[in-house]
């Protein structure tokens, strides 16, 4: 099997390329390899969609939880405040 044929049939390699594509981008050759692979592999097409979805959800996980901010309890905040004031008064 030549290199291109190997790639075309190797899902392990294709899924790695899918990850790299989203973070770093691919070289022209890698793009071609992935394109050839995905043209014939529906399972990896699903993988790619899910991979993108997961990245988006993980990103959103952080932003949405930031939107509905967690609260520290008041007692702890009061202690923090006192601690800071104590430090400030040292100066």
């Amino acid at each position: 099997m030549d290199e291109i044929t190997k790639i075309a049939y190797n899902c392990r390699k294709a899924t790695l390329l899918i990850e790299r594509k989203q973070i770093l981008g691919l070289s022209a050759r890698e793009k071609l390899e992935l394109k050839i692979h995905l043209a014939g592999c529906n399972v990896c097409k699903i993988f790619e969609r899910q991979s993108i979805l997961i990245n988006r959800m993980v990103h959103g996980l952080f932003h949405s939880s930031q939107a509905n901010e967690l609260k520290l309890d008041e007692k702890y905040k009061k202690q923090l405040q006192e601690r800071i004031e104590k430090e400030l008064n040292k100066h």
């Binding site: 049939y9 190797n10 899902c11 392990r12 390699k13 899924t15 790695l16 990850e19 790299r20 973070i23 770093l24 399972v43 990896c44 699903i46 993988f47 899910q50 991979s51 979805l53 997961i54 990245n55 959800m57 993980v58 990103h59 959103g60 996980l61 952080f62 939880s65 930031q66 901010e69 967690l70 609260k71 520290l72 702890y76 905040k77 923090l80 405040q81 601690r83 800071i84 004031e85 430090e87 400030l88 008064n89 100066h91």
Partner: protein, 200 residues
Amino acid sequence: MSNDNYTTADLFATASVDPGKWVELYADYLYTYAYTRINDEELAKDLVQETFLAALEKVHLFKGNSSERTWLTAILKNKVIDIYRKKSSAFAKKTEVAEAEQQQDDFFDHEDGHWNVAHRPKEFGVEQEDLITSKEFNNILQKCMKKLPTLWLSVFTMKHMDDEATDVICKELKVTSANFWVIIHRAKLNLRECLQKNWI
């Protein structure tokens, strides 16, 4: 705040920092930031306190080039990375990685690299527009993330939550660039498999 502190706070007024107001203005924000990244309430609380104390030490270095909140967040972020580094370099975690790797041993055919039938990705059928569905999906996602080895989760979180530069992650967590890609790939394979198992 007591009146006494206004005089002290005045010292910082020119650099537009006011430590007397930090707790009121930023404590919840910083707590949320820390908690979403390390998933540990007590540790997150400690980190908020450490951040404020470290900031007080360095307050004279604050140039006002960024907002106070951005500056405090940057200090906290470094502390979070320290935690990642400590957790993922712990000796005991080696077995954790070995187990996670073991788990994906039969995802692909060893000979030709094809997906093995039992592990082939199937459609999740998640509708982005449906808020309730995506909330449930998010819950599973978070649980699945917790199952990843600490090192993998650290790399994955730094990349996808904070969009950190790859070379920074490699340097901070002491992984080679080749290993970075292996980890990103493996983390995603396990995460996806876990979602499929628990969702569909």
